[in-house]
């Protein structure tokens, strides 16, 4: 389908502010009377606080006040508290102190005396599952979100469970979750090749470059929060809940966000600290979060200790997969990555029979929250290299084993036998193979140049990428402008505007006459889903489409009222609503908007549909009378889940003497339906590629098991890829086939573009080494050197937090 705006590049309205330094992030705001707070955080991995003596600190001139967990309503365990009297990880906030200046606040913090009672702790899930092993929490060692809400319990496996696992293999005691479909025994019985492999994927930090600083103050009964958040409307009710106020009394400003990658997807507890403290001390409070603090409170991706048994037919078809994942789940409710990982296996490789078992186990490490492709990208790192191994054993190509298992439009997956809205992963493999010139490149595999050897690899990843049921709001003004109100947020993808352009496209508006209204809850923003989960492209094209369709219906009604005939007799174009039979009978959009103001009711926004979210109703009331208001809830059909798939193709040169490697080429291919914004998509594919290189080759948590202390706090320790760690140029391509369940055919993409690159790097390194599979990420240079020289690795197969 031909579009005027969809699929075209544009200059995002927020980009000039980013290149001139005018973009205001949360720490860039100043308020009269502002004071600073510093956090006192836990020095211990797990402890109970018997007493806090802040008298000396509070007596210091210029110290204004203190906030402790006792000032806050109790939180139902195992949910994450705002402040705590039982810290569960080093760096967990215990109290916040406000002072006239930050130096003074820190000095005062040093004067506070806390009586800590150390408690048992662990940084290794298997240690906690072992009989008599330590629990990360006083109330148990297994926690998560079940069908009945958050739970916490104690689970121990038997010594027999551990002993029966086999050397270096994951023990598989009683799981917390399990599901199965098909006949596992029959699947394995028919297999030509069966593998049973144990793997480890690392926990790692998000390390958004902007720490989660926040400014808060109270004015006229409302609480103002300037925060670093990926999302705008969705966090509001949750943050209001943390603060203890009605959502309508929260002013939330999140116009710019310096990176989130999942950890700032919605409201997080730290946002509420300056709000509570400001209320208590009666002054605006700026909470600057340091890089080190961001490591701790900034959360992390859960690592896996897993095992998978897979049976393949001769042609590579996966007949059976039996997956077990032990997830390091951090100190609190954590995240269901392990469940998502199983869904991903079921969809990306469509095994004919599959069983999943998994258990989340608490550790005294930073909280686990979504990180780009939560579950899906870890499992891509684990499974994709094993596909290479199976292909080698079966004597088929690494491309063919992926293609033969790829899903299509008719695929049914997972325990609930879910459908997909569409799937073109095979096409993404084919496109990547063609653009990368795979058939020729693989001939270079193993070529030596001195101590260097060439490897080529490929990989794929998936994430669910779109939801429904949110609201759209746009206003045609009597000046002839279209204001598109979006509550989606500013993750840095420009999709706030790419999706808003669908309203303009639908109304056939010239883009220069449109404005995207966003970034501040006072701007009358609709209820939109958060900017996480790769969903924006799918979800918010739908909301903007239904809002525009509502506006078109109203334009036609107004034309029929003023010019005669029925609404159906009219059409739109050229920013006019005109009679189909006689185009000289028309109202301009500006005229119709003026008439909408005069008519009132639903036309002006004075009345709003009942099915809207209260936030959207309030937003509609806010814009009422300013023009013709298009507002609607997305009730469009959606059958199946909307998937995002991506494939990556990579070439490396591995130095066998040093274990270092250079990535000489990378391309990524997206299956994300219709491409909304080509340059934005390229940014995601390439940026996700960089992030994936970090996931597979560089970044990790390192925790000392003896003391529960981290050795990876800094950016250089963690370690993020620099510009010299990634290829100088990267390629980005798309399948670009429309999804039938979206009005413009779009689906999301942000997450799998990381996982596919990570998998491609693992695949390429293993290829360079002639088929050595590490069953572990990240692959570090010392691991490569050990593998090349046939030495045992310095870590045991199931060890976590390795350096």
């Amino acid at each position: 389908m031909a579009y005027d705006l969809v699929g075209k590049d544009f200059t995002p309205p927020d980009i000039v502010a980013k290149v001139t330094g005018k973009a205001k992030y949360s720490e860039d705001f100043r308020v009269e009377g502002m004071v600073f707070c510093r956090l006192l955080t836990s020095p211990m991995p797990h402890a109970k606080i018997n007493s806090i003596d802040a008298s000396e600190a509070l007596a210091m001139p210029g110290v204004i006040g203190i906030l402790t967990a006792d000032d806050l309503p109790p939180v139902q365990a195992p949910n994450k508290p705002i402040l705590t009297n039982e810290p569960h990880y080093v760096g967990e906030p215990i109290l916040a102190l406000a002072a006239e200046n930050e130096t003074l606040a820190q000095d005062a913090i040093e004067k506070i005396k806390i009586d800590f009672e150390p408690l048992p702790y662990t940084v290794d899930p298997l240690q906690s599952l072992y009989p008599g092993g330590p629990n990360a929490r006083s109330d148990g060692n297994v926690a998560g979100r079940g069908s009945g809400g958050a739970y916490v319990k104690e689970t121990k496996w038997s010594a027999r469970d551990f002993a029966s696992a086999g050397e270096g293999q994951l023990p598989m005691g009683p799981p917390q979750d399990e599901w199965q479909y098909g006949d596992m025994e029959a699947g394995f019985a028919d297999a030509a090749y069966i593998m049973d492999e144990t793997f480890v994927t690392q926990g790692l930090s998000h390390h958004a470059l902007e720490p989660r600083s926040a400014l808060s103050y109270w004015q006229n009964g409302k609480c103002f929060v300037h925060a670093s958040c990926q999302s705008q409307s969705f966090p509001v009710p949750f943050l209001a809940g943390f603060i203890g106020i009605e959502a309508a009394n929260l002013v939330f400003v999140a116009e710019f966000c310096g990176g989130g990658f999942g950890a700032k997807g919605t409201a997080y507890t730290e946002m509420a600290i300056p709000a509570h403290l400001s209320k208590k001390v009666g002054r605006p409070v700026m909470m600057r979060i340091s890089r080190a603090e961001e490591f701790f409170v900034g959360s992390a991706r859960p690592g896996f200790q897993g095992r998978i048994k897979m049976g393949f037919r001769k042609d590579g078809r996966m007949l059976a997969a039996d997956l077990y994942i032990v997830q390091e789940n951090g100190p609190d409710v954590g995240m269901n990555d392990y469940v998502s990982a199983a869904d991903a296996v079921s969809l990306v490789y469509t095994p004919e029979n599959m069983r999943f078992r998994g258990i989340p186990v608490q550790t005294n490490t930073p909280p686990r929250v979504p990180q780009r492709g939560p579950g899906q990208n870890q499992i891509a790192c684990a499974i994709e290299p094993l596909l290479d191994k199976a292909a080698k054993e079966l004597g088929i190509s690494r491309l063919d084993i992926r293609t033969v298992n790829a899903p299509n439009n008719g695929t049914i997956y997972g325990p609930r036998k879910g459908k997909v809205t569409s799937a073109y992963l095979s096409e993404a493999y084919a496109k990547g193979a063609k653009e990368f010139n795979w058939d020729e490149r693989v001939k270079q595999s193993g070529q030596r140049n001195g101590s260097k050897v060439i490897g080529v690899g490929l990989g794929a990843a998936y994430h669910e990428a779109g939801y429904s049921g949110f609201d759209g709001l746009c206003v045609l003004t009597p000046e002839g402008k279209l204001n598109i109100h979006t509550g989606v947020g500013n993750l840095g993808t420009y999709s706030h505007t790419a999706t808003s352009r669908v309203a303009a496209e639908t109304l056939k508006m010239a883009w220069e006459n449109c404005e995207v209204v966003r970034g501040d809850s006072r701007k009358h923003l609709p209820w939109n889903l958060a900017q996480f989960g790769s969903n924006t492209s799918f979800t918010m094209t739908r909301t903007n489409y239904v809002a525009a369709m509502d506006a078109i219906a109203k334009l036609k009604e107004i034309a029929a009222t003023d010019l005669g005939g029925a609404a159906d007799d009219y059409d739109i174009g050229g920013e006019r609503v005109f009679a189909k039979a006689d185009a000289s009978k028309f109202l301009t959009y500006a005229q119709a908007a003026q008439r909408a103001v005069e008519l009132g009711g639903k036309f002006s926004g004075a009345e709003a549909p009942d099915n809207l979210n209260p936030m959207t109703k309030a937003a509609t009331a806010g814009v009422a009378g300013s023009g013709l208001v298009g507002v609607a809830k997305d009730t469009l059909a959606k059958e199946g889940s909307a998937p995002a798939f991506a494939t990556g193709f990579m070439q490396v040169e591995v130095d066998l003497e040093t274990g270092k490697y250079e990535i000489t080429d990378y391309i990524g291919v997206a299956d994300c339906g219709t491409v909304l914004h080509p340059m934005g998509l390229a940014q995601q594919i390439k940026g996700g590629g960089v992030h994936g290189i970090g996931l597979a080759g560089y970044e990790r948590h390192v925790y000392d098991p003896q003391n529960g202390l981290p050795a990876c706090v800094g950016l250089n320790q963690s370690k993020l890829p620099t510009i010299l760690d990634v290829p100088s140029t990267m390629g980005a391509f798309a399948v670009d086939v429309a999804d039938p369940m979206n009005p413009v055919g779009a689906r999301g993409i942000g997450e799998p573009v990381q996982g596919c690159a990570a998998a491609a790097l693992l695949s390429a390194i293993s290829d360079a080494l002639g088929g050595h599979y590490f069953n572990r990420v990240p692959i570090m240079p010392d691991m490569i050197v050990n593998a090349v020289n046939g030495r045992t690795q310095s870590h045991t197969p199931l060890q976590v937090n390795t350096y």
């Binding site: 980009i15 290149v19 308020v31 930050e102 470059l209 310096g258 890089r291 080190a292 800094g714 950016l715």
Partner: protein, 213 residues
């Protein structure tokens, strides 16, 4: 209440405003927070707070800085970093603090055309030198610097937080090497982390700008 209306560029002695008036105006606008207000949040343990910073400590001294071609008079503590002087006393928040410990490069600016990390530069050490921040690149008529313009055209930033630093490193490179190779640009930007991974687009932006400066 916020200071969006405050224009630091006009609050200079050069504009004929007395120091007392400047102080009054910035206090009224809230642009300046109290002296010695900002820690060097080094990310180290609290115990490593510089001794000079104790008791909101150190003695402030009034010094002149040349920032973006204008002389700015400002009270500065001995241990104060340039990033914090700019952000909290001169209202120039375009310089970002990503780590405040010399790891990420978000605070990069130019001192006599050389790119430096302003989180790791003491303000007292730049007296008499020419400091250029991201706010100093745009022409008075609003025309973007060629690097800024190229970054817009190449959709170089994602979240934008590292962008001012990437731009300042790029500007420094093009001043000394107006026609760099792509690999020379990589080397020049290697001190600027981008967590969004927008490196390819930044490289494209600098290569595009190279022909225009």
């Amino acid at each position: 209440m916020t200071v969006e209306s405050f224009d630091p560029a006009t609050a200079t002695p050069a504009s004929g405003v007395s120091r007392r008036e400047i102080i009054k105006s910035v206090i009224a606008s809230g642009a300046v927070v109290s002296a010695g207000s900002i820690l060097g949040l080094s990310g180290c343990s609290p115990g490593e707070t510089p001794a000079a910073a104790t008791s909101a400590g150190g003695v402030e001294r009034l010094i002149s800085l040349n920032v973006n071609g204008k002389v700015r008079r400002v009270d500065v503590m001995p241990q104060e970093t340039l990033a914090n002087t700019l952000r909290y006393k001169l209202g120039l928040t375009g310089t970002k603090l990503g780590c405040d410990r010399g790891e990420c490069g978000a605070c990069t600016l130019l001192i006599d055309d050389v790119p430096v990390y302003s989180c790791s530069t003491l303000t007292h050490n730049v007296r008499g030198r020419n400091v250029v921040t991201i706010e100093g690149l745009q022409a008075a008529d609003g025309t973007l610097h060629p690097v800024q313009q190229a970054f817009v055209e190449e959709l170089s930033p994602q979240c934008g937080f590292c962008t001012p630093g990437q731009i300042m490193s790029s500007v420094a490179l093009l001043k000394s090497n107006p026609s760099p190779t792509r690999d020379e640009v990589r080397q020049a930007l290697s001190g600027n982390l981008c967590r969004c991974g927008a490196y390819d687009h930044y490289l494209n932006g600098v290569m595009r700008a190279a022909g225009r400066v």
